[in-house]
Every structure is written in structure tokens, then in C-alpha cells.
Symmetry: C2
Subunit: 275 residues, 2 copies
């Protein structure tokens, strides 16, 4: 019971349940962080956050780090990304900085690349810094920046991320977990909820005392059936259909792969690196 957490708060003898919540879109995050405060103490520093944007930002982030990019700067808007690119190019040289992103799945004028995990090959991104601005994923990363620790997850690295989070929660029972689904234009997306449910399912094998919110239970339900055929689910989802209509079927198939990497991306002081 969630109330047992509130009443037992402050008593170090009571081993509390770890409170797990899921947001379905980035505008939801303030209310969810408020819930985290009620459950786990004074501020969002006690919350471990995992950001999910399966199509395609967080899949892309894992793939880019895997391909030898040492640092990704996520930006909430194309304007902020352009401004940061100018600064970093002056400091480190133009050839070291790549500016990538998309709006509604489409390329942005003046950017070097898009948001496809297939375009950032080792040859292109290895040893270089990426500045990334996307419709939903990087906005979510911006919305959760007050959380204690922030990771990103996708199907491609879901088990590695879940195991990392499990080790943190197991060591610190006062932490709560917020899985932030990026969604679409501020609303629910099927694929991100499936990712959240998969992460919670793996987590429940490692951490004993978990307390699921309404949205956490919903994500578990949504993941239950979809997990059997992730690619089919992606092609049936609203955003999957949208990307498919833009000719991005290969990207969708890439994003459907489960556990092809053990990389866990972590956001620290505005920069994503391997945890």
C-alpha cells in the first residue's frame, strides 16, 4: 500500500517498498515528481529516472555510444542545439561536433544529420561529440533533469539498464524509480509504455519490495502481450506508422531488436555518456 510508505517515512527501522511510477509523456512529469516527493521524501534527488523513447531517440543514443561517440548533448529545442553547436565548434573545432536531430520524424534545416540509429556509423561518429534535438526524447530528458540519477533505455539495451537500476535500488531503499516515457506531442505512445513494462518486469526479478503506481501496472499490462513480437507492435503503433510513411522502415526494424548491447547511457550535468 502506498500509504504505508508515507506513514513509515522517517522511521529507519521500517524497510520501505521501492515506489515505481511511469509517466506517459513529458508534460506529465511535474505531477509524477510531486508523487515521488510524497512517497520518498523531500525532493527529486531521491528519484532514479529512466527515460524511454523507443522510436527513436533512446535507441539512437545507445547505438551512437556503442559506435564510439564519447558524449551526447541532448537539447530540448533545435534553437538550443544550434546555439550549443556554435559554442562547442569554436572551442573544439568544427570537425569534432556533429549536430543531429528531427522534428516530427523529419530532418531539420542546417543540421548535419537526423535521428536514425543507422546513419551514425562508427566511421561517422567515432570519437566525435553529438548534439541531439528530437521531437520528444530530448524534451523528456530536459523535463527530468532534477532527478538524482538519469539513464536512458530502449529495447536494444533494456536488460542492461534494468540490471543497473536494480543494483542502485537494492543499495538505496530510499530511492524511488520514475520511468519517463517520452510519448508523442505530450501524449501516450504504445512503444514507450511497452519498454517501461519490460523494464519493470525485469526489475521485479531482482528487487523484492516494489510498489507499483497505476501507470506502472498499466505499462506491465501493455508490455505483456506486445513483448512476443516487438517489431509487429512497432509497425502497428501510431508513431511507427508515421515513420513508415516517411520511408523509415529500416529504422523501425532496428529499434525492435532486444538487448543487442550492454551499454547503459547516463545523463550527468547535461551530457550523456556510458554509465
Amino acid at each position: 500500500m502506498i500509504f504505508s510508505i508515507w506513514t513509515s517515512y522517517g522511521n529507519p527501522l521500517v524497510r520501505k517498498n521501492t515506489w515505481c511510477d511511469v509517466t506517459f509523456s513529458h508534460p506529465e512529469i511535474p505531477i509524477r515528481l510531486k508523487d515521488a516527493h510524497r512517497a520518498c521524501g523531500e525532493n527529486a534527488r531521491n528519484t532514479v529516472c529512466v527515460v524511454i523513447d523507443i522510436l527513436r531517440a533512446t535507441t539512437n543514443i545507445a547505438a551512437i555510444l556503442e559506435n564510439g561517440c564519447p558524449a551526447i548533448y541532448p537539447c530540448a529545442s533545435p534553437e538550443m542545439a544550434l546555439e550549443l553547436a556554435q559554442k562547442l565548434r569554436l572551442r573544439h573545432g568544427s570537425e569534432k561536433i556533429i549536430l543531429g536531430g528531427e522534428q516530427d520524424g523529419k530532418p531539420i534545416e542546417g543540421f548535419d544529420g537526423g535521428n536514425s540509429p543507422l546513419e551514425y556509423t562508427r566511421r561517422r561518429i567515432g570519437g566525435k561529440t553529438l548534439i541531439l534535438s528530437t521531437s520528444n526524447g530530448t524534451k523528456t530528458l530536459s523535463a527530468v533533469q532534477c532527478c538524482g540519477e538519469i539513464f536512458t533505455a530502449a529495447f536494444v539495451n533494456i536488460t542492461a539498464t534494468a540490471e543497473k537500476v536494480a543494483s542502485i535500488l537494492d543499495a538505496n531503499p530510499n530511492q524511488s524509480l520514475l520511468i519517463a516515457c517520452s510519448g508523442r506531442e505530450g501524449a501516450y505512445c504504445e512503444e514507450d509504455a511497452v519498454g517501461a513494462g519490460m523494464l519493470l518486469h525485469i526489475l521485479s526479478k531482482y528487487v523484492e519490495k516494489l510498489e507499483f503506481s497505476d501507470t506502472a501496472r498499466a505499462a506491465l499490462h501493455v508490455a505483456h502481450g506486445a513483448e512476443k513480437n516487438l517489431e509487429k507492435m512497432l509497425f502497428h503503433s501510431w508513431w511507427g506508422k508515421h515513420l513508415s510513411a516517411l520511408g523509415l522502415d529500416e529504422d523501425i526494424s532496428f529499434c525492435a531488436q532486444k538487448d543487442i548491447t550492454r551499454i547503459v547511457p547516463k545523463l550527468d550535468d547535461g551530457v550523456i555518456r556510458i554509465a
Copy 2:
């Protein structure tokens, strides 16, 4: 495929699928109505809307109409409700107008009653007009007022409402359906998603060509398990725990009853009456 709707739009020879969407909270409704425009034409008049707030507004609305109240005026805020009460009392006499509602489940100062389906007995509400302002349900009704036809549903009248909606969609294949879950403070609520899934499940028995959005599929998944024991689900939900802590267990049990009435409430020009 949702794209088949868009491309076939305007061709009267193609029998389109009926597009079914679910919002998980009232702030989501503008984006969902935008999707409805894309799928079904020029404006929200082509959208049939069902508002759900199981705990407790739409359960209460069905119960109050069942108990002989001829008209309910839903108001988005307590201030609007007070203002309307003053006007209607001058016009119809104080004894004819009852002002009810809640904020965060608690009574509002200066109001005659709360938001409990148990307090508005036939003796108290029969033949009288109710002005109602609640935390989430009446805000949702205000957010969807541009839709073509607006109904309210709860577990207590879910089958009757689904059958009513089925008859409308069957007669007008150009209509789409939006199920608006009221949620909690602008976020997802388990019980409302269960209601949405139950409504869609019944509907799918009557209407052949349905096209489910991501949220519609999620609601079906969430309802699937919960339907077996609605009362247990309500007591486990966030809002259920909140109401239980306020001593409102009897209200929760009342709201868990399925199909105890055939009444279908309909909002027309700002007033809810029996359809």
C-alpha cells in the same frame, strides 16, 4: 491501418473503419481531438465522446439521474458553480437548486453536498436541479464540449452506454469515437482506463470495423485483467486509496457495481439529462 482512413477520406464508396481513441486525462484532449480531425474530417462535430470518471463523478451522474433529478449542470470550477447557482436560484427558487461537488475528494465550503452517489437519494434530489463541480470529471466535460455528441459512462451503466454509442456509430460511419478518461490532476487513472477498455470491448461486439489507437489498445489491455474484480481494482488504485483514507469505502464499493442501471446521461448545451 490508420493511414487508409486518411487516404480514403472523401470517397463515399469506401466504407471507412470507425476510429476509436482514448484520452487518459483532460489536458490530453486537444491533441486527441486534433487526431480525430485528421482521421474523420473537418471538425470535432464528427466525434462522439464518452466521458469517464468512475471515482466518482460519472457514477454519481448516472445515480442522480436514476434518482429522479431531471438536469445536472456540470461546472469546470467551484467559482463557476457558485455563480450559476446564484442565477438559477433567482430564476427557479432556492429550494429547486442543489449545489454539489468536491475538491481532491473533500467537501467545498458553501456547497450543499459533496460528490457521493449515496448522498443524493430520491428524497433529496428527485425533481430538483443539481449544479456539480468536481476535481476532474466536470473539467473533462468542459474540455470536450466541442464534440458532436457527449455521453457519460461508469461501471454502473457501461453496457447501456456502449450500446447507445454502437447504434450511433453504426448509423454514421463517418463518426469517430473519443473516450475521455478524466484521470487525476491531469494524469492517468487506472479505473478510468478500465472503464474505457470495457466500453471498447462491448462496442467491438456490435460494430464491425473499428480502428484502435495506441491508447485504445492500452485501455483494452488494462481492462482485460481488472474486469474480473472491479472492487479490488478500485481499492488498489491511487485514487481509490485516497478516497479510502478519507473514509469513503462505501462510495468505492458503490462505484464498483456493473450495469445496475440502463440510464445513459447526455450533455447537451451545458446540461446533462437522460439521453
